[in-house]
């Protein structure tokens, strides 16, 4: 059965034939590339705000999405993390391979995810990661599967996510973020904007359906 499906080239040929018939011929690469470059992009592709205002916008938009945000200097991350974990009553955290040791405060258990199963991840109080890019205008943080951010399941299954965002990784607009992500486009990538949410019941926004119900963001670095 499986081999029959994989070699179903008749369907492929037929669909492509129908497309070419519908639009009167096949497309050639040079023509397609030139036409794509001709798409009008009159929308904003660059930041318009001062850096300080961009950071403030991110904080504001994250809070609007029910995330808790603290701002600290580079040296103060571990202390801030410790305070947030204590306040939330979290003790046993999972962290990705490659997370910087100086971010982790003493007095808590940090277990490095070296291939934990989903059920094992479900047993942790929370997860702590870094991030690749953050978009101020939309209150979005982007994670990729790299050192310090890890695999997608680890930031999904635990009920609590603590994410460290460096101010130099904050951009104002979505296009700026896509520019930064372009060179690593093939990595598994997750955009998140606040904790998991739904509005399926009478359009009331409810936090935390299947993903983490609580999100803390440590915003770090000097401008």
């Amino acid at each position: 059965m499986a081999t029959e499906i994989v070699t179903n080239s008749a369907a492929r040929a037929e669909v492509l034939r129908r497309i070419c018939a519908a639009k009167g011929g096949a497309s050639d690469e040079a023509g397609v590339r030139a036409a794509w470059a001709g798409v009008e992009r009159g929308y904003r592709r660059k930041a318009s705000l001062e850096r300080q205002a961009v950071i403030e916008l991110l904080e504001d938009r994250l809070r609007d999405y029910d995330a808790h945000v603290v701002r600290v200097g580079r040296g103060g991350i571990a202390v801030a993390v410790g305070e947030m974990l204590a306040k939330r009553g979290k003790r046993r955290m999972v962290v990705p391979v490659g997370i910087e040791a100086e971010l982790l405060p003493a007095g808590f258990e940090f277990v490095v995810d070296e291939g934990l199963s989903a059920s094992e991840l479900d047993g942790f109080d929370g997860v702590m990661t870094g991030s690749t890019v953050a978009i101020a205008e939309t209150g979005t943080v982007v994670l990729q599967n790299v050192a310090g951010q890890g695999k997608r399941a680890a930031t999904l299954v635990p009920d609590y996510h603590l994410c460290v965002v460096r101010v130099e990784d904050v951009v104002e607009t979505v296009p700026e973020a896509m520019d930064r992500l372009a060179s690593t486009a093939e990595l598994p990538t997750t955009f998140f904007s606040g904790p998991s949410a739904t509005a399926d019941i009478e359009m009331t926004r409810i936090k935390g359906v299947h993903g983490p119900r609580f999100l803390d963001v440590v915003l770090t670095g000097e401008l």
């Binding site: 050639d28 904003r44 059920s119 599967n145 997608r152 992500l181 019941i201």
Partner: protein, 479 residues
């Protein structure tokens, strides 16, 4: 309407189904509330964007360009997805797509699947096909879960259970999850769903999803969602099967910067969805290690071949047109007899049926243009509606209505015939006219096909004297 499968080949015509829906005051209340909330949120976040019109224009041009070069971009996607470890399948129609997915699920060694909300799988009635093959499908989106457990049908592209209120949802959950003590706060209901589904997320080894976008340049797939159920389905299983219409392709990774701004604001009134996931093939140690994509035509090439109808394929399924549509807001989604309801459904459904079914849908509109105003990729839905009405008339040939129109045309072309028709009309209407308190004549009922007009309104009787008659007699009397 609950329980009846939304199949355009068997559903009643829109006016019949709409009449039944109009009688359900609870449904109309639920739909009105939901669409009002979502429209207000959308307006607020769209107003924040100084470049919204430029984004719409870019979105329209990107989608148009993609359709003009669909063969090129699909092949490019296939090449790049395959290179990254994905397996690409092609399906000519719904039956072929169902057969491929069913076989892939069986080959994965599982007799159950967890599913991400997907209108494409609704379109092809995948769950029924899986069930017939002995495979249990669990919907994991909260709204889809409500519909599945309630044996109901989706009524909106983005918020498929918006026709249910919290009490109705609570009753379904109490019964189907065996939770007699369940509270009625939305939080209680969401929490029940979380507990009900978590066990399935951690256990089921095969996931089935749709796709918001396929990225030709990288071979990547993008899914946009809110709850995290999508992430669960596409990262925890061993096998992931994604089914997408061939219209879902985007040329380049960079083009996400346009659609990821247009879609969330238009769909749910959010600046960005809580979660967007982008993955490319398989990656060791992260997510499913077997990944299949089924590229499905199912009459999309038929739409592509129609130059005026082609823009229908630009749709990114945000549902903004539904929320803005006065007809949808009164009738709810089920009256459209298809999983695609509202204005976009009114043009998409008949075309997906190659104009053989759902022919009443192009008429399910007042042509007010609200759908065109809010469409993030500027699909001119009213224009397509009129184009499709034309097609329906041509297809149906001469009928009583077109015959009447032809006769009217003949009468209007000649003064003598027009005068004769006015005299004849006054005589013919006489037995139907009733006087009101002011002495005005009204007709409340017309016979035959004309009856459609008087079903919901009265017709004023013709005046005793026409303007021409008055003018001519005035001339004679010299005053």
């Amino acid at each position: 309407m609950s329980g009846a499968v939304l199949d355009p080949t068997t559903s009643p015509a829109f006016p019949m189904a709409a009449k039944a829906a109009m009688g359900d005051t609870q449904l109309r209340k639920n739909v009105r509330h939901a669409t009002e909330v979502i429209q207000a949120k959308r307006a607020r976040v769209v107003d924040e964007m100084p470049d919204w019109q430029q984004l719409r224009e870019a979105g329209k041009q990107i989608r148009q360009h993609t359709m003009e070069n669909l063969d090129f971009y699909l092949e490019e996607f296939e090449r790049n997805c395959t290179r990254s470890g994905g397996v690409v399948h092609w399906a000519r129609d719904a039956a072929e797509a169902r057969q491929i997915v069913t076989a892939l699920v069986k080959a994965s060694g599982s007799d159950e699947v967890i599913k991400i909300k997907s209108m494409t799988t609704e379109e092809i009635h995948l769950n029924d096909a899986l069930e017939a093959a002995g495979i249990r499908a669990y919907e994991t989106d909260l709204a889809e879960l409500i519909i599945q457990l309630g044996r109901d049908q989706p009524s909106h592209i983005v918020v498929p259970a918006l026709h249910k209120n919290r009490q109705q949802i609570r009753e379904i959950f109490q019964r189907e999850m065996n939770l007699p003590e369940l509270g009625e706060k939305p939080e209680d209901l969401a929490d029940a769903a979380r507990r009900f589904l978590r066990e399935k997320f951690l256990r089921v080894k095969t996931g089935v999803s749709g796709a918001n976008f396929l990225i030709a340049e990288t071979g990547g797939v993008c899914i946009v969602e809110s709850e995290g159920n999508g992430r669960m389905c596409l990262t925890l299983p061993e096998t992931l099967i994604t089914i997408a219409g061939i219209d879902k392709v985007l040329p380049r990774y960079q083009d996400l910067e346009v659609v990821l701004q247009l879609l969330p604001r238009s769909a749910t009134g959010e600046r960005m969805n809580p979660y967007n996931s982008i993955w490319t093939g398989v990656r060791a140690g992260d997510g499913p290690q077997t990944f299949h994509v089924v590229l499905m035509d199912n009459a999309r090439t038929e739409i592509l071949a129609d130059e005026e109808g082609r823009q229908t394929l630009n749709c990114i399924r945000c549902g903004a047109c539904q929320n803005a549509c006065p007809v949808y807001r009164q009738t709810g989604g089920h009256a459209y007899g298809s999983v695609y309801a509202g204005p976009i459904g009114a043009i998409l459904t008949p075309q997906l049926q190659e104009m053989h079914h759902a022919q009443s849908l192009p008429y399910a509109s007042s042509l007010c243009g609200a759908c065109y105003e809010v469409c993030p990729v500027k699909i001119n839905i009213p224009e397509v509606l009129i184009h499709l009405r034309n097609k329906v008339v041509k297809q149906n040939g001469l009928n009583a209505e077109s015959l009447a129109m032809k006769t009217m045309g003949m009468i209007f072309r000649s003064e003598a015939r027009f005068r004769a028709a006015q005299r004849l009309g006054r005589m013919a209407e006489a037995p139907l006219v009733r006087k009101d308190g002011q002495g005005e004549g009204w007709i409340g009922w017309l016979p035959g096909i004309l009856g459609g007009w008087t079903q919901v309104r009265d017709l004023q009787a013709m005046p005793k004297e026409t303007f021409r008659e008055w003018w001519e007699s005035r001339g004679k009397n010299g005053n």
